[in-house]
Amino acid sequence: MVAEQPWLYTAMAAYALATVIAIRGIVRARGGAVGAAVNRSYEPLVLGLISAGVILLVMALTERWIRIGHGPFVNLFELLMSQLFSLGLVLSVVYWRLPVIRPAVIVVLPMMWVLGIWVLLLEPTASAFPPTYYNKWLWVHVGVGKFFLAFSLMGSGVAGVILLRKISRLAPLFRHMPPDSVLDHVAWRFMLLALIFESLMLIAGAVWAQDAWGRYWAWDALETSSFLNWLLLGAAIHARLTYRIPIHIGAIAILGIFVFAFMTYFGTPFFSEAAHKGVI
């Protein structure tokens, strides 16, 4: 076992426990008379566990950094680990600051589990740091990209609640949350934040590409995919302003945009030969 693995496993255990406790708490709170007090005593524990997961991932990332000599920017194992950290960080802040949407955590955490399970299945092989990655724009590009993905995930969590409420057996789980019309606004608000950070990600990426490969844009697989993602988000925002899009269709659109972003991040660089990976 390599140095970062014990930290990673414990972090994943913390996220898993947070998921279980959140689901149990929400299931228990689903009944009760209208107007009765809702038991939210489990929420600090969930917040504590997510935060613990984040700190443990910082340890895992640090251990790996020391072991292989560079940051988590190159292979899938380290990219997933780093995303689990940043998604958890944004989730914990949102969970802390916006109590009204806390139950959405039972949608968000399982979505993060896709990354969690994936990273646990990968070998923690050391990666080689390409010469063009010493550029400071890498930090900006990756940093703002993390916020883009995290805000899309938050939007998707809320959109997920809107959709799960359509299933009559699951609707009571979220009855302490605001009505769909409010959730719709909250979800899109996260997507608007995501748009800002995605725009910054494209700009920082272009500056880096100009330094690294002598061109700011060349429609490589990753560039095209993130541009389409940006365009899709822009189109969805305009469509929502122009047409009376039913709330649940809007929610599906948000999930679609998130899935697209997910594929861009974790699919394109590893399945396309000519993505950034190919030209480093």
């Binding site: 209208v34 302490h176 095209t224 389409l228």
Partner: protein, 358 residues
């Protein structure tokens, strides 16, 4: 006129042209050589017309500062990119250590019809370079030493490489993986002028086993074949540094039936003259890129995002995020909502059901 502009500004058209741009971008995925540029140009022009019309006629945009800045910046980016394509220049060059940049060295030149830079004023002298390799022949950092005019008649040393291009008169020179060795030879013909020059060998270590080239001296008829046997310290299993100063090369010269192995400083008499192997030098391949819009593009894009941020900031401030009433104590019955709801009736909740833009 205004009614035409209004029609052109329709957001339905925006969505249509965005879809078209999406198709164009998807067709350009991975940059296939056979995808024509118009698949992107046409939707971009349509979007630009649509956006310009909206900026002029639609108060939803032109009365809201932040949003206006963002959309004007989008338009600006399209215009700048177009101008950049018309004025850009790209090329490749290979330059031998110790020699100066010359426009004659440029190959694969591509330039926009309006390109007019001061390339003829660009001067630099290529110095030595090193390239670090990690175990497994993984290329690491390149340090290419160059000398550039210091502005007061002298020369200034600079080190460039990888993501640090040499920028002169707006022209950006990027080192590439394309680099190799170049034996320096002096040709002393039986009759005529003595000449010193270099023979470019194929890229190293990419073509490690094909370090060969051929040359016919100006006054001779017989072609000379060269093969360079290198000792560079290359070790695929461990880290090493490619450095011409630390490398040695035996030059195998074949002319007609003759085959001679030359060390540095040695000569060989051939049919039409004498050839001397002076020393082992190297060449570096650069990519040249020029686009006068780069800084403006960056600035415009950043101002655009700032505008968008201002727009959202105002919007979010007008309708705050929904807040929970503290803990479990008090519940606020939301009109029209069947169950108890502990959400404070903040702006966002109050506005629920209405469009946020109102």
């Amino acid at each position: 006129m205004i009614s035409l502009l209004k029609r052109l500004s329709s957001i339905r058209l925006t969505l249509l042209w965005m879809a078209l741009l999406g198709v164009g971008a998807a067709l350009s995925y991975d940059n296939p050589v056979d995808t024509p540029a118009w698949v992107l140009v046409v939707p971009l022009v349509l979007l630009a017309i649509n956006l310009l019309a909206a900026i002029i006629t639609n108060p939803s945009i032109n009365r809201r500062g932040g949003l206006l800045i963002f959309h004007v910046a989008l338009l600006g980016i399209v215009v700048l990119v177009a101008f950049g394509r018309l004025t850009h220049m790209e090329a490749h060059l290979e330059i031998v250590e110790g020699t100066g940049f010359d426009t004659d060295q440029l190959i694969d030149i591509r330039r926009g019809p309006l390109h007019s830079g001061k390339l003829d004023q660009v001067q630099f002298i290529q110095g030595p370079y090193t390239v670090n390799y990690r175990p497994g022949m993984v290329r690491g950092l390149t340090h290419s030493h160059v000398q550039v005019p210091d502005g007061s008649g002298g020369w200034e040393r600079k080190v460039v490489g990888d993501d640090r291009p040499l920028v002169l008169e707006g022209y950006r020179f990027y080192t590439t993986f394309n680099k190799g060795f170049a034996p320096v030879l002096t040709w002393m013909p039986n009759r005529g002028r003595v000449e010193t020059g270099t023979i470019h060998m194929p890229p190293y270590p990419l073509f490690e086993f094909r370090q060969a080239n051929r040359w016919t001296p100006p006054t001779a008829t017989e072609e000379i074949k060269f093969w360079l046997q290198l000792e560079t310290g290359m070790d695929p299993e461990s880290a090493w540094v490619l450095d011409a100063a630390q490398s040695r090369g035996t030059l195998v010269v074949r002319a007609g039936e003759r085959r001679v192995e030359l060390q540095v400083g040695e000569t060989v008499r051939l049919q039409n003259g004498v050839l001397k192997y002076e020393r082992l030098s190297s060449w570096m391949g650069y990519k040249l890129y020029y686009d006068p819009t780069l800084q403006w593009l960056f600035l415009t894009a950043m101002i655009g995002v700032l505008g968008l941020a201002i727009h959202f900031w105002r919007k979010f401030a007008a309708y705050p995020w929904p807040q929970q009433t503290s803990g479990d104590e008090k519940k606020t019955q939301m009109p029209g909502h069947p169950r108890g709801l502990n959400v404070a009736l903040s702006g966002l909740a109050m506005k629920a059901g209405r469009s946020e833009r109102e």
